[in-house]
Amino acid sequence: MSELAIEMKGIWKVYPDGTVALRGVDFTVRKGEIHGLLGENGAGKTTLMRILYGEIKPSKGTIRVFGKKVSFRGPWDAIREGIGMVYQHFSLVPSFTVLENLFLSLSTLEKVTMSEVRRRAEKIIETVGLKVPLDAKVEDLAVGVQQRVEILKTLMRNAKILILDEPTSVLTPVEVEELFKTLRKLKDLGITVVFISHKLKEIKRITDRVTVLRKGKVVGVAETKDVTEVDLARMMVGREVVFELKKREAKPGEVVLLVKDLWVKDDRGLDAVKGISFELRRGEILGIAGVQGNGQRELAEALAGLRPVVKGRVILEGEDITNLPPYLIYRKGLSYIPDSRSVGLILELNVISNSILTRLKSFLGRSGRILWGKAREFTSSVIKKFNVITESLTTPMKYLSGGNQQKVMVGREVIVRPKVIIASEPTHGLDVSATEYIRRLLINLRDEGVAILLISTDLDEILQLSDRIAVIYEGKIMAVGKPEEFTLEKLGLLMGGVKVD
């Protein structure tokens, strides 16, 4: 048994509102290994790591770091013990250069000069092989490079333990490879890595050992080489997971949605969608694949009437709907499921109010009175049909789990039998069973003749669901084709802007 880097024993975390995030978790990491922390959304992975990083206090339990018992008052204590953490959302100043960011993070700990920071950074870059341009502004860097800056930041603070929270969720396949190379290098240098993820393939590929959490409890610890992906999945969700969604051959009908040479600007007034054209038929799923921020959101919002179309036409069943107000477009049979629940739902309002949100006009009596009785009936049908678990119809939305919130958001759009559904990241942040549920639902809708535009950054989702795939890069469609025509590598290259034949 080698020396332990981290030893957490009997960790409990109960939040002030009574939510129990962790129920007596034991978590040990050996020195110099890459340790995977696997679990569904809400299993407690991030909470456990935030406790280790001193950001939140455990309600109960002891922590040892390199054998020494610790009790952190804040992240600065954890940093002093050699722990570094890289979050999903980076904490960098975008308008500063990399060097300035490094200086900023170091100067809170010790007295340093800019030239000293540069010398130390260059030394680490050389030993680890991290490719980071020190004098570039952070906002000009790709997400993958920004992540390297974050890693570099922790190494500059002499981190011996590096915690990465879902590090691959924002990366392209190529960038993931880069990251894995870096992690192996760090391991060779004797640095311990905790790798948080819910992606089985990555856990299997990069980690030495793995701890699986489910609902705040440890359900398994194993040497990664001794377990299969199926074993891990079973531990994670507590049942066998069907990875392949069985689906019938698509029978596309007539064109329902026609998009011609669409140009849309983003919030900064720059062109985000640059002349996109496509057609969507009844009974097919067209998947738009691409890395986040390549015009997907602007495209979806323009189709739904939420963002002005600068040039081009959107035609729904032969009728021009370009730049109509959203409620009219929705009423004509187009549904838009946004990529974020904070856009699609109002969490403070109750389940009924959220169910009628996008179709308020159908629940109005004369003189604008809301027919709450009708709204209530509609809501119960959504809840029944989509198995939404809620205490009552008048429970505020925020008390529902993420999966159930998503079911309401998707369900209310789907139940009115739209002709076209634009589903943007429909399973984002959902656990395996909820994801499977939503995906099946989309396939069933397709079989019933609904036209679906699926916008997703999750390649598995795109490949599983789509009848045709279009790859979007910097506001343009790089290629369109059947899923069989794409390999993962090819998709990755196209998403990275490389034309392939």
């Binding site: 109960v14 904070s342 309002l349 308020l360 709450w372």
Partner: protein, 350 residues
Amino acid sequence: MIKSLIRGWRFSEYLTVAIEVSGSIAAGVGIAALMLYLLGFDPGRGMALLLGGGLTDPDYLLSRATFIMMTGLAFSIPLLAGLFNIGGEGQMYLGGLVSLLTAIYTGNLLLALLAGGIAGFALGLLIASLRVCRGVNEVITAIMLNWTLYYITIYLITNTFYDPLAPHESIKVPPQARFGIMMLGGFKLHVIFPIALILIGLSYYILYHTRLGFEIRASGLSPKAAKYAGLNPKKAMLYSMGLGGFFAGLGGAFNVLGFTYYIDTLLTTMFGMGFDGIGVALMGRNHPIGIVFSSIFFSMLILGGQSMQMELNAPKEVADALSGIIIIALALPQAYRMVISYIRTKRMIG
């Protein structure tokens, strides 16, 4: 009515609020009494005056509550849409002034009341449209307008519309354009109070049972979600501020048409009531029903403070400080909830 109330807001929530509020008032009273004792006053008598002084004249208590009930709504409705209406004061002056002039010239009560409300509505709309169309912060506009209207009203009353027989007052509202006093089983009551209660019901209906109310609440909680849903947050802002101004204007109209029947040259009968509305709205948890209770309670403390001043010869500041303590105590439930959750946590993990 009861059924729809429960639908909008769950019964258990009402109950919790009721228990919390009474508990914190008790705590506030205790602390205030201790303070009185330390200052060398008789705490028993002082507290009796502070809490009971207002009750000696229920009609006055409720009439006074009527005005701040309206300004409370004036603050609360825009707040639901995400706007800070600090201009209830000015909207009330304008409503009072316009209703007075309408009453003098037309002698029609209903017309005068509506004119007051509409003037307030227009003022609210002006503030909101500056915000929506030009990005001017509504707080700044409202504060400036408060003072502008204060001096305009004073100017008009002292120079043009003063009563030759009593120059520090305006021309009186003609008798046929006044809200009267009704007798309620031996008690007299100014008619404006029950009318205000009807308006509370109306505002509740608008907020929780109409499309406009839904749009206002949804936009206030999440403008981006409202926009996505095809609602119009800008429209919600305009209307909410207009409605707020409408109620503040009615508050002023009630004051003039239903209670004082004139405006004095220093606006003493209205001054500060627009600001009291902010406290009333917050204490009433931004809900029309809550505002009914909080406005009466507020009014009780203010009147009680006045009688304490007179009877105990206590300085005004002491009375104000004591009222303040009791109002702060109403913030205690939050602290209480934290303690409860702490205990629950400990118990769960043993």
